[in-house]
């Protein structure tokens, strides 16, 4: 059985269908890019993966466990913005990745020192050790997103969900963030889902590119039908696949 299974997912907001008949199976360690036009339901699908929303029909399972009713430790997430805690320093943000799950929400004594040491290792790996004691507001957008990814990974989730993580960054920073993500993935081999509206980015980073679109279209009522997966492209074994075919 596949690592992540989405089975016959339907999602509608009131009478308005967003997604219909979405089926997806993903192997452990895969990087899935989710692309599509605005309003095609790709972010909705990510929220379903995150268990922030429940599908109207169908279910999503990770590693065969029961469908989740709310976001939890098995799903890490990085949003376009607001993914780090503004009131914590960079190091405290990484430590929070481990400490928030405790009943008191923080560490004391030896556990605290150990967590800080691990946080410093993480910061060295994501290249933020020189700003460890600063607050996120003083960092650039790219550094904040690196911190957000580092924090999500510190919690050791089973899958990592990225919702347009580089959407607010300038093109140069975006390219260096791609290198950062590729390198990080080589190290840890995490299963990643990334929603992006940038096709090129999707193909560059993803092992698979999933395209959401509407199969049926009523010109008099554009909201009548929901979107589903229209293309499922394996970028690693089909070098002939180009951006144009999506």
């Amino acid at each position: 059985m596949s690592f992540v299974v989405a089975e016959n997912i339907f999602q509608s907001y009131g009478p308005r269908p967003i997604l219909e008949r979405v089926n997806l199976e993903v192997e452990e360690g895969a990087f899935i890019s989710i692309v599509g036009a605005s309003g095609c339901g790709k972010s909705t699908f990510l929220r379903l993966l995150l268990a922030q929303e429940q599908p109207t029909r169908g279910e999503i399972r990770i590693a065969g466990s029961a469908p989740a009713s709310e976001p939890g430790l098995d799903r890490g997430v990085v949003f376009q913005r607001y993914s780090v805690f503004p009131h914590l320093t960079v190091r405290q943000n990484i430590v929070a990745g481990e400490s928030l799950r405790t009943s008191a929400g923080r560490f004391w004594g030896a556990a605290r020192a150990a967590a800080r040491a691990r946080a410093d290792e993480t910061l060295a790996r994501i290249g933020l050790e020189h700003v460890a004691d600063q607050y996120p507001a003083t960092l650039s957008g790219g550094m904040q997103q690196r911190l957000a990814i580092g924090q999500a990974l510190a919690a050791r989730p089973r899958i990592l969900l990225l919702d347009e993580p580089f959407g607010a960054l300038d093109p140069g920073t975006r390219l260096s963030m791609h290198d950062f993500l590729i390198e990080l993935r080589r190290d840890i081999g995490m299963t990643v889902f990334m929603v992006t509206h940038d096709l090129e980015e999707g193909f560059k980073l993803g092992d698979r590119v999933i395209v959401f679109d509407k199969l049926r279209w009523d010109p008099t009522d554009p909201d009548a039908y929901g979107a589903t997966i229209t293309y499922d492209l394996d970028t690693r074994t089909e070098p002939g696949v180009s951006v144009a075919s999506a």
């Binding site: 922030q52 976001p71 430790l73 805690f85 914590l88 607050y135 924090q151």
Partner: protein
Amino acid sequence: MRLINREPGRVVRAALIALPFVAVVLAYTIGSEIRLAANPADRLLPAPSTIGETALRLFTEPDPRSDRILLWHDTRASLLRLAAGVGIAALLATLFGLLIGLLPVMRATFAGFVAVISMVPPLAVLPILFIVFGLGETSKVVLIVIGILPFMIRDLSQRVLEIPRETIVKAETLGASSLVIALHVALPQLLPRLIQSVRLSLGPAWLFLIASEAISAETGLGYRIFLVRRFLAMDIILTYVLWITLLAFLTDIALRWLGRRLFPWAGAGL
């Protein structure tokens, strides 16, 4: 150049800041002189020098009957009432703000209720407070609490709701319980806003304090003002008013300084 783009220079800016203050003092002085010229015994607009002498006397000379410097005594009594009222309101508002802002069940229970309660004019229930809590300290503190608490709860719960959903969801994915989210994510982000809320509430808090002191008290700044009103002692009243204004102004500055000091990450938010 458009008016909206014309920035005053440093000197001009300083002069403009001083201008309304100078104008008020000047207008008062002129008015006072005109009245005193017509009637040297006029009590309505005492000369600034008279106010200065009265102020010096009030701040330094003890009352012959009680042998206490009444102004300091009044200040102490009023500030204690104010601190108790505002402190209790701030604590309760933080608690209810978090509950209403974070928990949909609490929001459904209390949001409408608080919205209705905040429409009750606090001074209209003052007689009830005097009947229920007596004429002592309790009723004055309770009036301040009732006066500013509904506003503060609404303000703070709204601020909790304004914390980006992404931040809360992120904490959920890090395994945080509702309590941990409240204490480690929402509360720290609420505290700088609490200081803002307290700053905004201090005006009404002074109003309710002075109103309750005016009606029933044996000491306090508001009590003194309303007591000497009977003797048309404008010099004392004006000294007290200026003193209260100064106290309120200094409190505001201190709170702003405290907020910036305690919450450096909040940056321009304060």
